[in-house]
Symmetry: none
Subunit: 216 residues, 2 copies
DNA sequence: GCAAATTAATGATTTATTCAAG
DNA sequence: CTTGAATAAATCATTAATTTGC
């Protein structure tokens, strides 16, 4: 293990312009742009832009010079339109789970036709949808203690073949009475029919994009 | 390999335009002063740029000399230099825990003087450092049931809770038969996951940045 | 001493939880 | 109650340390 020893670095020595505080900060252009940067083999959220934070109810202080973006319709959280949701669900059903940066970008571009939207919304949507789907499964599985046992085909949870050794789940007890189901849940019939997600033999591996390389 | 076919929705009909969402609009005003919650404006990773793909560097084993930073280029993972680590730790000690986008950007700019680095590295560093600090605390707390606090010297695992983890790791058989004991102990009082802030002593009066309000 | 074999750290991602707007 | 947003925990993967046989 290394022992860090630092040599009195003089932080912020130059660049007075970065005057910390809530003063003014220079634009700081995003670094990408230098050389060939369009490879994009991976990676994701580059979409959560600074700001968009909830605005302070008592006075939304924006510092001077802030050209503040387009009105954002309220500035709160994204409120997806039906079209947007429809498309997202379709993508989800088709197997997409964790879109990478470019995919998110593309999706965002498309969805923006139907309403205001940012990349991070897309990113979060997939995160949440995936998580809640899983959650629902678990709960469902628990509720009806079915022992299907048959379908352990393990759906492609991720659009990509899940080569997980399965048996990863071993989360601890949570609020729901679940817990002891932890072990079982993933094998609880690779997604029983309750949810409307997968259904229909769409081999889900249809993938609209080359999904994330994802070494795992 | 599978051939991707896609759904009927004619998504992606046009060209991507590739402009990456990461646009930084408003400067963002720290919410601080708010009441109980509202994470102010934290938002983060807008730094993981698409690219930086892992590059297989056959060979290129760098000699572990006194210093090896700088070139780095290889393309694998970030390998912080001592200076970088020093600065990061200093910031951490001064109270910074979850820097927002701008802060990350600034830090990155500064740290790049000492070696190649990207914003996401900074982001991850804080995430990991914070998490591991907590983890260590927990472990420590568990090990010695006392709460004398202070000292936080080291980790003498007296076998109290150190052995259990065998079962926790059902990784694929790695070569190592490790048994790392990183685990829970949720019962370790005084350390709920929603704990406020974990300040180890230093009463950061220093604040290089407007510290994150950190509501939670 | 040295390099392969192990082990400990820790960078990078994904998943689970939490919070609160609507 | 649903779900967008954000954070924390878990976990995967690679690299530096360290140990070990020569």
């Amino acid at each position: 293990m290394k022992v860090h020893q630092f040599a009195r670095v003089d932080l912020w020595e130059h660049e007075p312009s970065l005057s910390l505080g809530c003063k003014r900060l220079r634009p700081l252009a995003p670094k990408l742009g230098g050389n060939g940067h369009s490879i994009a083999t991976l990676d994701l959220k580059c979409f959560i832009k600074p700001e968009s934070g909830p605005r302070n109810t008592s006075g939304d202080r924006k510092e001077a010079g802030a050209q503040q973006a387009e009105v954002q319709s309220g500035g709160t959280r994204w409120n997806p339109t039906q079209e947007q949701i429809g498309i997202l669900e379709m993508l989800y059903r088709s197997g997409m789970r964790t879109p990478n940066a470019q995919q998110i970008e593309q999706i965002t571009v498309q969805l923006s036709k139907y309403g205001k939207i940012e990349g991070k919304n897309v990113f979060y949507w997939f995160q949440n949808h995936k998580a809640r789907e899983r959650q629902k499964q678990k709960r469902s599985c628990l509720t009806r203690t079915l022992s299907v046992g048959v379908l352990s085909k393990e759906t492609h949870e991720d659009g990509v073949a899940v080569k997980e050794e399965e048996s990863y789940y071993k989360r601890k007890c949570r609020s729901w009475s679940v817990q002891r189901f932890e072990e079982e849940s993933r094998s609880c019939g690779g997604f029983s029919s309750t949810a409307e997600e997968y259904h229909e033999g769409s081999d889900k591996t249809l993938e609209l994009f080359p999904l994330h390389p994802e070494g795992r």
